[in-house]
Symmetry: C2
Subunit: 229 residues, 2 copies
DNA sequence: TTTTCGCCTTGACTTAGGTCAAGGGCAAGG
DNA sequence: CCTTGCCCTTGACCTAAGTCAAGGCGAAAA
């Protein structure tokens, strides 16, 4: 069997905890395995615990009545989700499902809450984690309402390029359809804007592989939110 | 002088704390008074503490380069803000300024963080508070991207009506211009939609006073996100 | 190799809502 | 009382982006 402690140690949320504290955490964790494209939970369900991604990829999203999807987050190894339901004492505020075959760790609510009480550093880690997420949401709202789609796309590409640390080359880790949903638009629009940005020599697109050709131009687009002539 | 302990006791964040704990909190709190329309902090400033509204009203907002404003929250007595900068260890992610003359309590970062460490219930309160705020953001993003402006307005009116508990009468606590910015639109559009909703006999508008005339209709509008012919 | 199936792209068209410009109304101050 | 200023409303117009419909392309299956 894989070494659960090794996984736990690599998770930012559990950084700085002692071996015995990690041991306690391991004792309440449960493994959950999902194939690609499976529902983990749905908005409105009782939140009886939260999850950490050990491997794979997960999307957190909202659906409108007509079936349009807005992705709120895409999480990979080391990220956690579902805490909001645990700490607010309410139901899950959004849906979660896997984008890839995934190995998740599940932490039951009551056991975890009692762990926190005697564990200030875990608590501070959690506060930091939720704060970072709030910060991300402010950026997302800014992007969605103060920028047009080209500006949002430019921000996202620059963000990815930072993450991946591969110079000017980057790979969208997700399908273009999912990217459209993350950016608050639809595949047709995304497709058109990618080709506009290619014509403007800002980027070069080959499937999911993208090369940044004019970083400053992208940066300006991301800031102003508009794709000038 | 006003009784600070009495104020602290009324704040949700400090609910369930003992008198001695409240005493510690009082000891690190600092009063801050602001006139209407004053800046409390700006996006990007160092976050050296957080605030609680004792009286008055505060908006948290983002600005685009061209000066368009998106309001993220409007906070009144009992609400806190600025924690994100404190716990994430980063700068303020948005701007804050007063909508009314306000009395705020300021909690310096380092003093407050050390208070938390020995105080599990305060910590759980904070986790609950941040979680509720994350939940609100998911709703806000859903509204902004999956609903059209009439749907967002309908949601907001129903929400206000719940808050105020005055049956079908309610009062926008803010100017229509500010409301437009909160809903992710502009005053002209808001104005047009208010009159469309009046013509459709969903509501009756008299300045900032609004009467709900067709609650079910509003509810449907809020859910579907579209104002049908 | 050929077929199939998802996913992506492209084109023509529609529309929600933003922009620009011109008043209207009400409250505060002279 | 009149004036000033602010906020709100209304109208005409424009544009970003959504909808609908038709292919195209590449990977996996046959």
């Amino acid at each position: 069997m894989h070494n659960m402690l090794k996984i736990l140690r690599s998770i930012p949320l559990f950084q700085g905890l002692s071996e015995s504290q990690l041991g306690q955490i391991r004792d309440i964790a449960r493994d959950k395995l999902y194939d690609k494209g499976k529902e983990i939970f749905a908005e409105g369900e009782e939140g009886d615990g939260f999850y950490v991604v050990a491997s794979g990829q997960v999307k957190i999203y909202k659906l409108s009545l007509e079936g349009k999807e807005q992705i709120l987050h895409i999480y990979g190894p080391g990220n956690s989700f579902g805490e909001v339901a645990v700490f607010s004492g309410k139901r899950f505020p959004a849906n979660a499902s896997t984008l890839l075959k995934s190995h998740l760790l599940f932490f039951p609510r009551t056991a975890f809450v009692s762990l926190i009480s005697g564990n200030p550093s875990l608590c501070l880690n959690l506060l930091a984690d939720l704060s970072m997420r709030l910060r991300q949401f402010t950026v997302q709202i800014e992007n969605l309402t103060l920028k047009e789609v080209p500006g949002r796309l430019a921000s996202y590409l620059l963000y990815l390029s930072d993450e991946e640390e591969q110079g000017d080359r980057l790979s969208l880790g997700i399908s273009k359809g999912q990217l459209a949903s993350l950016l608050g638009t639809i595949p047709e629009t995304l497709s058109r804007i990618l080709s506009r940005m290619s014509s403007a020599d800002l980027i070069e697109v080959k499937g999911k592989e993208i090369t940044i050709r004019d970083r400053d131009g992208l940066q300006e687009l991301a800031e102003t939110g508009k794709l000038g002539g």
